[in-house]
Structures are given as C-alpha cells and as structure tokens.
Amino acid sequence: MAFHSDQMAIMDSIIARYPRKRSAIMPLLHYVQSVYGYVTSDGIEIIAEKLDLATAEVTAVSTFYTQYKPEPVGEYHVGVCTNTLCAVMGGDAIFAAVKEHLGIENDGVTEDGKISIEHIECNAACDYAPVVMVNWEFYDNQTVQSVIDLIDGATAGNPPAPTRGPNTLRTWKENSAVLAGLSDGLAHEGLAAGEPSLLGLRISQSAGGNS
C-alpha cells in the first residue's frame, strides 16, 4: 500500500520542523503508526526514502523504542504500570486480573483486535497510583474492577473518559497522530490538574494563602 499525496505532504511538513531532516525519524514513525497502527515495512521504506537512509537504519531506531510496535496492537492499547510503586499498590493484581479476564498474555491482542495489553514502566503519575494508561491517556487511581469495566467498555465501543485527558478516549491511531505532532484540537478538554497535583496548593490556601 502506497502513501497518498496528502500523507506525503504531512510527512514533508514533519521533516520541515527540524534543522536536519534525520531528526524527523521519530515523529515519522509515530505518523506511520497513525496510518497503519504499527510500524510496517512500507512505513520503514518511505521514511528511509524521505530521509536518505537505509531501511536498516530506520529499523534500528524503530526497534529501540518500546512505543513503536512491530505488530498490530488493539484499537485500545492498555498499559498497566507495574513499576515498583504502582505494582505494590495494586498494579500487579490489576495486570494479573486483566490477563485472566482477556485470556491473553503481556504484549497480547484480543482476537477481535479491540484490546491489547502491556505492562509498562513508571508513567510519571505516582501520586495517582495505581495507574493504567490507555492509548497513553491517564486512568488514575485504578482498581481491579475499574480496569475490567474499562476494558469491557472499550470492547463494546464505549470506553469511559480518561481521568486527566480529553472528554472521550481516542483510538490508538488517532493518538499516534498527536504524538507525530498533528493537533487534534482537544487540548482544552479535561482537567487542568487532578486533586493530588493540587494538594500542596490547597493546604497553602486553607492556611490563609501564606502557609
């Protein structure tokens, strides 16, 4: 499958952001994932061609980073944080329950292609532990039941909204486009900050603003 001329134009605009074109390799890989859902050999070839690289050089970069997927993932990619703090506080129990509920293992995809799962490392939201990411949106303060409900909702095409994110959960491909630098116009949706982010501020305010 070849890329259309409008897709080629988008890739050129990504390359134009940088003083040197090789720097565009990462957003271009995100862009390929927004088109195909994963890094295809077609995608590798077009990036190599545009950046004057060997396909092996593009593959070498693609395989270094865990967000670039060599195989298709689900429409909703569920990452459960199992780094120490989240694991201890419930992440291990959540991930075990998710695997059992779906009958798939780490890096697995459901047969209908709706859900894939991965245990992820610390996602910079430890004050909201245990944390689950879906298509790299925050689902804070999760429990086993809340994640099962989330997955069942996503499977039925009706996932709950992220805790700190847009009003509706976007698909893996749609969010990959945002990571490629293509705005979806949803920055204004969702909270400015969750309650844990505001804890110190609130304490300071309740002490009269000069705590």
Binding site: C122, C126, Y128, P130, S197, G200, S204, A207
Partner: protein
C-alpha cells in the same frame, strides 16, 4: 514548620490554568519582556545570583551551565528541555506541563535569549499524550501572539521552538542519549567530554535543562534573584516541587523551599496511611539510595540528603509502609534497570541482567547467603564503569536495602519463600490488613 511556597503551582486550581489568557491574567509573559530588554549576559548573571540549581536530579547550577556556552563562536546554539520524565517515582514535570505549559515556554524564550540560541526543543516522553496536546496548543498560541518566532515582542530576537515526542525509552532522560535520540538515532549515551556545552545537538553548543529548572526562570526574572535565594538553604536556594507518593494518607505535589523534611511533608499530607508505619522511602526516585524512618528529619536539599548517604535527585518521595517486601521492591526496580539498559556498555547490559537473576531467586527464597555478597560484587563491578549513570542507579536500591534490611533478605532464605502477603500492601486492602 516550613511554609509551603506555591509559585509554579499557584494557579493550577483554575479550570483554564493551561491557557495563554490565564497565564497572562496572572502576570505571565512579563518576565520575557523584562529579560529581552537586558543584556543576555545579565540574564545569565541573574540566574547565577539566584542560585538556581538543576531540578532534574544532578543539581548543577543552571546559570553556570548557561555560562559554559562559548559566545561569538559563529556557531548555532541550541536549548533542549528535558521533559522525558521517567525516573521511577518522579511525577512533577508532567502535572506542571499539563496545568501550566506557558511558564515553561516563557522560560525557554528567556533561556534561549541568554545563551544566544535561535532554536529550542522540548523533548517530551511519548507516553503522556494529553500533556503533548497542552504543549502543542501552548506553542501554537505563543507563536500566534508573537512570543515565539521572528522578532519576538519587537526585540529583534528570533526563536523557533519544536516539540519533539519520544517513544518509550528511560535512557533518553540522560542528556547525551536524549541528544542522540533527537538527532534521529537510537538513544544511547555519549562518552563525555566533550560536554553538550561544547558539542551537543548536531555537535553544536547546547544547553540541556530540566523542565522545572527552566520553568523557575520567569519567577526569578520577575521577582529578582534575592527573592529566590531568600528561600531554601545555604547552598540549595529557592522553592521546588516535592512529589509524595505511595502509602501515605494523601499523595500529591508540594511546592516548598529546599530543605523541608519528610516529617514536615508527612504532617502536611496527613501522614502514613492509617494503621501503618513508615518502612522505607526514596528521597529522589529509585536511583537514589533508600532511606528509613531514621531519616525523617534529613533536610531535603542537595547537601542534606547527600550527607545522609543518598541524593536529592528529583525529589520523588516514594513512601512504603511495613506491608511492603523490600526484596520485591528492589527486584522490581532492578528489572526496570535491566529492561531500560540501552546495551551500549557491557558492565551495565550484562550486570543488570545478572542482578535480576540473583534477586529473583532471593525473592523466591531460593538463594543462599553467598548470593547477597555476589549481589554486592556484581554491583561493585558495574558502578562507575559505564558511559552514563544508569547502572549506578541500579546499584542504589540494592546497596541501600542490604545496608538497612539485610535481615529481611535472610528471612526469605530461612523461610524458603517471601514472608509478605502482597495483598496487604495494595490500596484495596483495608487499613490494618
């Protein structure tokens, strides 16, 4: 009791705090006007006088770093903001950029002007898509209002700002790996010297600063270096974000002067979760040696934490109570370092792998007492033997846990199993479980 000092977080409770209009409503983008009317060297001097030190972990003086950029060299200079927040436990830059991206952008314009850079980058990790959205919008709005681009505010200063989104690699938080990644390569650390100030991005003079460091700059320009240096301690000046997480009644962010103690933060946050006691904690992420209840009164500044045998790091205070198995915690962190080792340096690549093998056996109660010495022997052979500090970080929880909790490792061996019930440490467990 140390007083909290919300500066960066002062308006995060407003629903639109991330917009350019909200930022301007609270005096945003006035510091940049002031700075652009100063000589660039005077801006650097102001940041030096304030005593601002890097908030990304190492604590290097920010103004001094800027001063290392050679001037009049007819080369392009670059500012790169390290927004690849990935150190386990660290969760301050992410809420900062989500709730107030403009304070970072204003800091970037000022810092770029000071080091005479006309191109700046924010390298953000790719796993936080809504923060990416907020930054994209903020950058677009700043361009639209003439705060980025050509001839900023009529000053004659030009700056292009590019948001570069990573793709899941902890190592890219290391500044030279970050630069390789930004150049379009696998993110692997470089041998130093040369340091980025001499040969950074595209082998040109480059400053790499943490998000919080750069975001602190507008407040320094607006309020003066004396205002900033009046907060904090003798060598650790100013306010900073402390992130409290884990087995506490109320986890969250606290902006306070450097030098506040965990005892004070716990008092403010409501203490350890009900019915439990503090067992161990990290002062600044998983790469900083573990502390125990004996360290509650250590001043959380660069010198205080260092003198007590750890590092201030990213001020990521991960709190674990008595239900947590320290061997399990250390094993999991070690698995993380093994997974994130980029593979460039043999001691780190092989050493972290062996550490995981030994710790897995120990956690399952299948090891022997000799394995504890073997752990320390492997650690001794990987520390300081690689291009970057990843392996040193892997060593920290192992050495410190053996120092404080050797008995608990021995219990695993005596019992032939882990003596802890993992359910008791979850949030789903009821108090006292």
């Amino acid at each position: 009791m140390t007083q909290l000092t919300p500066v960066l977080s002062a308006h995060w409770d407003e629903k639109d705090s991330f917009t350019i209009s909200a930022y301007k409503r609270h005096g945003g983008y006035t510091a940049v006007k002031k700075a652009l009317a100063m000589e660039p060297d005077a801006v650097i001097q102001t940041v030096k006088d304030a005593g601002l030190r890097g908030r990304g972990g190492a604590g290097f003086p920010t103004g001094m770093k800027w001063g290392f950029i050679p001037q009049g060299d007819n080369k392009d200079h670059y500012l790169v903001v390290n927004a690849d927040e990935s150190e386990p436990g660290t969760c301050k830059d992410t809420p900062l950029m989500m709730a107030n991206p403009h304070v970072l952008i204003e800091g970037i314009v000022i810092a770029s002007y000071a080091i005479r850079a006309n191109y700046a980058f924010i390298y953000i990790r790719g796993e936080v898509v809504h923060v990416v959205r907020r930054l994209q919008q903020a950058i677009a709005d700043a361009y639209a209002q003439g705060l980025l681009g050509k001839n900023i505010q009529g000053s004659g200063f030009d700056l292009e700002l590019v948001l570069h989104v990573g793709a899941g690699a902890y190592i890219c938080g290391e500044e030279t790996a970050l630069l390789d990644s930004l150049e379009g390569f696998r993110g692997q650390p470089r041998l130093r010297p040369p340091f980025p100030a001499i040969a950074g991005l595209y082998a040109k003079p480059t400053v790499v600063n943490n998000v919080e460091s750069i975001a602190s700059v507008p407040s320094i320009i607006n309020n003066g270096p004396e205002w900033f240096s009046a907060m904090g301690t003798e060598k650790s000046k100013g306010y900073t974000l402390y992130s409290l997480s884990g087995h506490v009644a109320n986890p969250g962010q606290f902006e306070a002067p450097l030098g506040i103690t965990l005892r004070e933060l716990l008092t403010l946050g409501g203490g350890i979760r009900q019915g439990h006691q503090l067992k161990f904690w990290t002062p600044g992420g998983s790469s900083t040696p573990l502390f125990t209840q004996d360290h509650l009164d250590v001043p959380l500044d660069y010198e205080g934490v260092s003198a007590a045998g750890s590092m201030l790091g990213t001020k990521a205070l991960q709190i674990f109570d008595e239900t947590t198995c320290v061997v399990r915690a250390v094993l999991r962190w070690t698995e993380f370092y093994k997974h994130e080792s980029c593979g460039k340096c043999t001691p780190c690549r092989e050493g972290t792998w062996w550490l995981v093998q030994i710790l897995r056996d120990l956690e399952a109660g299948k090891g022997t007492a000799a394995d504890l010495d073997k752990l320390l022997d492997v650690v001794d052979n990987i520390m300081g033997r690689s291009f970057c500090a990843l392996a040193d970080g892997a060593a920290s929880p192992i050495i410190s846990s053996l120092k404080h909790f050797r008995e608990e490792y021995m219990q695993h061996l005596a019992l032939g199993a882990c003596p802890f019930d993992p359910v008791a440490s979850t949030l789903f467990a009821t108090a006292g479980a």
